[in-house]
Amino acid sequence: MAKNKIALSNPLGHTGKKLGGQYMNKMITVILFLLIPTLLLFIFTYIPAFNMFKYSFEERDQFGATVKFIGFENYKTIFTTPEYFSTFKNSLYYLVGSFIQLALALFLATILCSKIRASNFFKGVLFFPYMINTVAVAVIFRRFFQRGDGITNTDGTLNSIITLFGGDPVKFLSTEGLVNVCLVFVSIWRYIGFDLVMFIGAIQSVSPDIYEAAELDGANRWQVFKYIIAPGIRPIILLQMILAVKGAISVYEIPYIITGGKFGSSTFVIQTTETAFKFQKVGLASAMAVVLTIIIIIVTIIQKLAFKEEK
């Protein structure tokens, strides 16, 4: 027993003469193994993070040629210029979309976990978009929602279906408001499979005995969902909801490729990168990055608190 205790408190340590050599070997291993990862961490994460805070109080271009300290001016610009601030409003579309996506995924997951033939086939098809290259997805839907100009481009898939049923084609991607709904649809199309797989995993991890017992007690479908499935997968739903918030404020690729942020479809991250790399206002862009970081940190703290309570 005593020997065991020593081993536990000092798992890889050694007793006796060899201790010195072991200790050296241990330290060398620690230093050698951690050297490169730690260097990379500091060069590509901490130094840029430090710069980000520093630059956010400055007016500067990409090369740092004309640097001027301007205090909180950049932050003021973000919160007073509608061009920048209004992109947060678009995040709400994605946030609502994410919750619809979670609800749909949960619904489909419960169906797929019941007695269904070819459930693996359905699961595979619904999941597959998650595997497709983001640019490919965006380009597919750029065409899908297209309104033809009658010369070089014809109507896309959706407008073709609408005309087939006798309706008038719609300018999906160049109508403010509607464009965001379309982009959110693309986002759901692409990411729902991921949530679906998570939920199916969680539902199947609940012991089948419990379902059998519920069945014997004469529970109906809704009761089974409410009292067995829902509590069993509560943590994963909570996690996905928090990730959805983080996702909704960091949307970038789908709107950037489909519309380039035009017609009121820009997002905060699109604005940030355009400010930094197109307009070369690194100071302002850094301030925007700081704002995003602060939001993410707040959400993460909420996440940690929520999960502490779960436990």
């Binding site: 290259n133 490919a136 014809t154 089948p208 990055a289």
Partner: protein, 292 residues
Amino acid sequence: MSKAYAMDSYSDYNDKESKIVSGIFTFLKYAVLVIACLIVIVPLVVVFLGSLKSNTEFLSSNVFALPTKIEWSNYKTAFIDGQVLEGFKNTAIILVFSCIGTVITGSMTAYVLQRFKTTLGTVIKAAFLLATLLPGISMQVTVYRIVNAFHLVGSMAAPIILYVGTDIISIYIFIQFLNNISYSLDESAIMDGANYFTVYFRIIFPLLKPAIATVLIIKIISIYNDFYTPQLYMGKSKPVVSTALYNFIGPYGAKWEIIFAGIVICIIPTLIIFLVLQKYIYSGLVNGSVKE
């Protein structure tokens, strides 16, 4: 499906009424699934059909119409002129180096951080943990300047270093897995006179195989799908698959049949990998996300 619970069977009363209700439920369930699958499949089928049409036919025919004459040359144009081939080559190189780099540095870091409780280790572990809070995509505003200072912009080394150097999730997956590998294995090896390098290479690394599979799956999917990093650091001259596809939008703006061929070429490897590794991909993603 043995694990699935029998949602239907509790309506297995013998009376007719409940059989009808159950039948309607079953029908509705399949209807929902079929509609959902159609929503996924229809946009993809349209892309495939379009990629086989000539430009004139593409513009004149209905999107659902089958091509009258199959135009394979679209694929050739996309592959060679559209630089999809070049993109595959570059993506493959980046994938190989990033994956090897991530597995080696990630597992070494995890080994040291999980096995040795040193003060240095604790501090570094906290530093890695804190770094997960920083949103990668908007950090690039200042990361760019540093990558530029190393003269890496425009080379494949830039994305490789960033993929390896800023991957903290992998370290966590390895640490979680190491928690479940008994210390007694390392201990007895040390008793036998092995040093810690040998323990890592001979004992720990081979045991990490399932964790490595998880890390690789997450890594490959995320790198293959990444558009932002290669777009920012490699530009138009060195395309990867995603930037090659993006570059199509300009010169081929009105030639959807060629863009579609490019998309089909890019989906095919994904489809094959998915069909072969389906099971591992699901479990890899589920295991990976729990560590968030």
